[in-house]
């Protein structure tokens, strides 16, 4: 069941934070939200996750507005990795990832501990399991949060409802190797588990390599469609104001060099 936003916009303090956006995100696809700073990417993300209510228009999940779902119900079908999350006390990495299972506390699976372990292994933080999370580097903390979000939507639902994963700049703090490792992991989850992933990204080349659809925010307009169609040299020039040169990488994926 799709996640649809119709004519949604947000204004705050008299200024338009987000222009009117219309898009239908189909489940089981990897979507990226791209755009220059201040275009409203995080604002749009907060509308799609239900954190914020749109001022005009609606966000519909399975044809019902998000406000019609309870927070507890939403938490069982969608997980969000925020841009920043400071953990208040000296929780262990394992404990933080376990908190991802909180929405499912009344319907635990057979092996919750095993699930948490697998989630940590997926984002390569299992070796940090008994470390105090506040002592980790920025990139390690980001991967712990990703493990927590994955743990939240790990199991397929018995009612077959789609699972959604929203990530606000998941690769921002990660080194090159982990950027690609995470994107490959997300791609794998979309392909094999049918997870629906929506990520705010800055790196156009990562999007071209791993992402199915992009939603490019421009301030006034939004471009939505398959990645390779939307991310053309013209779009890059008109939206970001950069000149680019297309390059075909060895495995056939188009990438851009920027000036």
């Amino acid at each position: 069941m799709s996640l649809r936003c119709t004519h949604v916009g947000v204004s705050a303090d008299g200024k338009k934070r987000l222009a009117q956006v219309d898009a239908t995100l189909e489940p089981g696809r990897f979507t990226a939200i791209l755009g220059p700073n201040g275009a409203g990417k995080s604002t749009l993300m907060s509308l799609l996750t239900g954190q914020r209510q749109p001022m005009g228009g609606q966000v519909l999940l399975r044809n019902r507005p998000l406000s019609a779902y309870s927070a507890a119900d939403m938490a069982t079908v969608r997980a969000v990795m925020l841009q920043e999350s400071a953990v208040a006390f000296d929780f262990l990495v394992r404990e933080v990832v376990e908190l991802g299972r909180y929405p499912h506390r009344y319907q635990p699976t057979q092996d919750e501990a095993g699930l948490v372990q697998q989630a940590m292994e997926a984002t390569q933080v299992a070796h940090l399991a008994d470390r105090n999370v506040t002592t980790l580097s920025g990139g390690e903390k980001a991967r712990v949060q990703l493990a927590r979000a994955l743990a939240q939507v790990w199991h397929p639902r018995t009612d077959g409802a789609d699972r959604w994963l929203f990530l606000d700049e998941p690769t921002a703090a990660l080194d090159l190797a982990h950027q690609h490792q995470v994107m490959r992991l997300l791609r794998k989850w979309v392909a094999r588990e049918g997870l629906s992933v929506v990520a705010v990204l800055h790196d156009v080349n990562l999007a071209l390599r791993y992402v199915d659809d992009v939603l490019v925010l421009d301030g006034r307009l939004a471009h939505f469609g398959p990645t390779h169609e939307v991310l053309s040299a013209q779009t890059l020039a008109s939206v970001w104001g950069v000149s680019s040169q297309a390059v075909n990488s060895e495995d056939g994926v188009r990438q851009y060099l920027f000036a």
Partner: protein
């Protein structure tokens, strides 16, 4: 790095400490009761006795209610401290932030100093309960004021609450200062002793009431343990995990207000317990609120009993103020643990 204590270890250690403090507290005091005499008293209490010994009378009428009040006070303060630290997501939070202690103090001071002038009829209606009732109501009223000031469109803002609390606490302090200025010497002395805290006012009726409030508070508080764990990831993330954050805040604030209000109304201001007990538990057992909340209650109770035992015996037959002792005992032990567990902090 030292392994963390498990929940079971914390419970055993907490109950053990509490038991030791109870035994020590039973024996100590202006009227000393030896362990042998204590054993007789307990047997008589269970079996019934026609001829109560002096030890029996002292124990049942004076010492036991005092010990139980100490347990209730320490448990209430320890739990409240842990709840506040979880709510404010800050280990330096203290139950006093929500204003209940200063509100109770202001109301008590109003009664002590201005009682004859402002509410001459109240003692006739409430009798010896007047001071306690006023202090309790004062605590709740000031908490409500701070809570109301912290409301915004998005719910209760903890940052606003902190600032409002600082302002209102300062105002209450000023009011307290002014009342001290107006007080006669005798009133001033009464007020000072009330402010420094004591378990001396332990009548069975008061003990049962405070005990009931603290037991209910502990029960309600324990249901907040898992939501508070989620809130440690940030209020926004907790909402995204399905936690009803606003409801958790309301419950935590009001459970604290009722527990600390009831305790403070009966014992005066006993500081430090709510700040320190949760720290100790976190240092040995980690920050999971499912362990920190009950652990803080147990440790708080043991701490108050230990302080009270010293209060009653250090300068007997006089009594040292309890609030002073909780600081004197708490700080060195806290510093010791800080050194011992410094890798964890």
């Amino acid at each position: 790095m030292m392994a963390r204590w498990s929940a079971r270890t914390v419970w055993l250690a907490g109950l053990g400490l509490l038991a030791m403090a109870l035994v020590a507290g039973s024996a100590q005091g202006a009227y000393a009761i030896s362990p042998a005499q204590l054993w007789h008293v307990l047997r008589d209490m269970v079996g019934g006795s026609d001829n109560p010994t002096p030890e029996h009378l002292v124990f049942v009428n004076i010492r036991l209610p005092r010990l139980l009040l100490g347990v209730a006070a320490g448990a209430g303060l320890g739990l409240a401290g842990a709840l506040m630290q979880g709510l404010f997501r800050n280990p330096l939070a203290d139950p006093g932030l929500i204003g209940v202690s200063s509100g109770a103090a202001l109301a008590a001071a109003s009664f002590i100093v201005m009682g004859n002038l402002w509410f001459p009829d109240l003692p006739r209606a409430l009798g010896s309960w007047t001071l306690v009732s006023m202090a309790f109501m004062g605590g709740l009223v000031v908490t409500f004021l701070i809570y109301a000031l912290a409301q915004s469109q998005g719910g209760t803002r903890m940052g606003l609450m902190l600032l409002a609390g600082i302002a209102v606490n300062a105002l209450a302090g000023a009011g307290l200062g002014y009342l001290s200025f107006l007080a006669t010497d005798e009133q001033l002395r009464n007020l000072q002793f009330w402010l420094l805290g004591s378990l001396g006012g332990a009548r069975w009726s008061a003990v049962v009431l405070v005990g009931a409030v603290v037991i209910l508070a502990c029960g309600a508080g324990l249901t907040l343990a898992r939501p508070l764990n989620a809130i440690a990831l940030g209020e926004a993330q907790a909402v995204l995990l399905g936690v009803d954050v606003e409801r958790t805040k309301r419950w935590a604030i009001w459970v604290c207000a009722l527990a600390v209000g009831a305790v403070t109304a009966t014992t005066g201001m006993i500081g430090f317990v709510g700040l320190i007990a949760p720290h100790w538990v976190r240092m040995v057992a980690g920050p999971d609120h499912r362990i920190v909340l009950p652990g803080s209650a147990l440790l708080g109770a043991a701490l108050v009993l230990a302080a009270d035992a010293v209060a009653r015996t250090a300068v007997k037959p006089a009594e040292l103020p309890l609030g002073v002792l909780t600081a004197f005992i708490g700080v060195p032990m806290f510093l010791f643990m800080l050194r011992h567990f410094r890798g964890r902090v």
